[in-house]
């Protein structure tokens, strides 16, 4: 009888410890700092005085690079808008509408609980002779705010300021939300935000890479000059589907890794229209966090399906020396440029 009682207590103790331990692990990836979600933010405001030009500032980098996290509870991030000639391939360039002077826009990285003090100057007035100066805006999928206020369009020459707090870990999209949104997106105005859990993503990896997939809808205007093709976008018939903004990027200059390394890919399908079936030839993703949230873990996946604006974090171990292609396994997209190489030496 006494023995039974002791076993019973031992079972209860083990169960309690397991539950405590498990929920502790799980809480590390919970939404909000210390489980507290911050809803809303102070009202956005606009300034009209010119400020010194800066394409990007704060924890921002161009994919495949991933920026370092900034310290502190408040992080200043600036991404300006500029109309700029961008090359999608050797033969095709067009006047893009950019965030931070590139297509896709820069990868931003923050931590759950950090409040972003965001600034965006609309510098589309600087290229009036080639592209009409126009209103632009930015919509952060990672934020919980009133879009009517924060995601407002600002006139050329104006600067928008607003705050938002990162609550959920993940890989999120940002994009211009000024009508016609489709046209602003296909003109290049999309990008990725990575939100780390408060205690960082679980596990250690050797390499982290950001990959943004997007479609280009273009029509010719001259020899190598092209312009966005809204009718083509409405028909969902892209000229190119690319990883990090260029046709077959990384085919002639593959991303270098080493055999046996752990690789973490932050993948975003910025669209604007098509679904991506992201796959790396020769590997299996042993961990997949849908939308980049460790609580949404899936295992042993060959292909990850990403609708427009969906993100994911994919991890794998490089099996051996070799060349590994990453593709959108919807193979028409491969023909249109959605293929790159990872070379393991």
């Amino acid at each position: 009888m006494k023995r039974d009682k002791t076993s019973c207590w031992l079972i209860i103790l083990a169960a309690t410890l397991f539950t405590a331990c498990y929920s502790n692990t799980d809480n590390k990836y919970a939404a909000g700092k210390g489980g507290k979600i911050v809803y809303g933010a102070p009202e956005a405001y606009i300034t009209d005085e010119a400020i010194p030009p800066a394409a990007i500032a704060g924890p921002a980098a161009y994919a495949p690079a991933i920026p370092s996290l900034a310290d502190g509870d408040t992080v200043a991030i600036r991404v300006d808008v500029l109309h700029k000639k961008i090359s999608v391939s050797d033969e095709v360039s067009f006047w893009a509408w950019t965030f931070g002077d590139e297509v896709p826009g820069p990868v931003l990285r923050v931590r759950v609980g950090q409040t972003v003090k965001f600034t965006m100057a609309n510098r589309s007035n600087l290229t009036a002779e080639v592209s009409p100066p126009m209103p632009h805006s930015i919509d952060f999928h990672a934020a919980l705010v009133n879009p009517h206020d924060k995601y407002r369009s600002i006139a050329p020459g104006a600067t928008l300021h607003f705050q938002w707090t990162a609550n959920y870990p993940g890989v999120f999209m940002y994009h211009c939300g000024t009508p016609v949104i489709l046209q602003h997106m296909i003109a290049g105005m999309t990008g990725m935000v990575i939100v780390e859990p408060a205690g960082g993503f679980p596990g250690t990896v050797n390499r982290e890479l950001a990959i943004v997939q997007n479609e280009f809808y273009l029509k010719p205007m001259g020899d190598t000059a092209y312009q966005t093709d809204v009718a083509g976008a409405r028909a969902r018939q892209p000229m190119f589907v690319t990883f990090n903004g260029q046709y077959r990027r990384y085919m002639q200059s593959p991303i270098a890794v080493k055999a046996g390394e752990r690789v973490r890919l932050y993948v975003l399908n910025a669209g604007a229209n098509l679904t991506s079936a992201f796959h790396v030839v020769g590997v299996i993703f042993d961990k997949v966090w849908i939308d980049g949230n460790p609580r949404n873990e899936m295992q042993g996946m060959q292909t990850v399906l990403l609708g427009p604006s969906s993100g994911a974090i994919l991890e794998f171990t490089v099996p051996e020396k070799g060349i590994y292609a990453f593709v959108d396994h919807s193979f028409a997209s491969v023909e249109q440029g959605a293929i790159g190489l990872i070379e393991a030496k």
């Binding site: 007035n125 009036a128 592209s131 009409p132 100066p133 126009m134 209103p135 879009p147 009517h148 407002r152 369009s153 006139a155 050329p156 000024t178 009508p179 016609v180 046209q183 602003h184 809204v230 009718a231």
Partner: protein, 160 residues
């Protein structure tokens, strides 16, 4: 259809003269650019006005950017589904006379007098929901010989 539109455009462009328009008729000039997508925010509102008031009001689209070709203009009008004449104001006569600020701005004139200038509606400021139909209200007032309730409202569009 294409050639008819082109013919209309050529006749209007060639014979265009601000003073030549029928005296006394209420006119609406819409300033617009083929490379600026902002006008699509007003596709429904303005399209309805064109249909509703076409017998009482003379609507004209004004293209003041020299880069706007006839082909691009016709493509835009076709895409918007609007049947209205246009003029190419590359000499900026209308621009200088009426001083619109951005493409999508409209100017309502009655017997040569400006009664309303600015946004067609405030949809772009309200995530697409129109709270104020500025041009429609101005037209209604004008046609009933009443004072225009709001004589101007800032438009959202590309700088002219």
């Amino acid at each position: 259809m294409k050639s008819l539109l082109l013919a209309i455009a050529i006749v209007i462009t060639a014979g265009f003269n601000i003073k030549a328009a029928a005296p006394g008729k209420v006119k609406v000039y819409l300033f617009i650019q083929t490379r600026c997508p902002c006008i699509y925010s007003h596709k429904e509102t303005f399209g309805k006005l064109l249909k509703t008031y076409r017998n009482q009001v003379e609507f004209t689209a004004v293209f003041s950017d020299s880069k706007d070709s006839d082909k691009d203009i016709q493509e835009l009008m076709r895409d918007l589904g609007w049947k209205m004449p246009y003029v190419r104001d590359t000499g900026h006569r209308l621009l200088m006379r009426l001083h619109p600020r951005v493409s999508t701005d409209v100017v309502l004139l009655d017997a040569g007098k400006v009664l309303y200038k600015g946004a067609i509606d405030d949809g772009p400021s309200n995530m697409g929901m129109v709270k104020h139909f500025y041009l429609q209200d101005a037209l209604e007032a004008c046609l009933q010989h009443l004072p225009v309730p709001v004589p101007s409202a800032p438009g959202k569009g590309c700088l002219l």
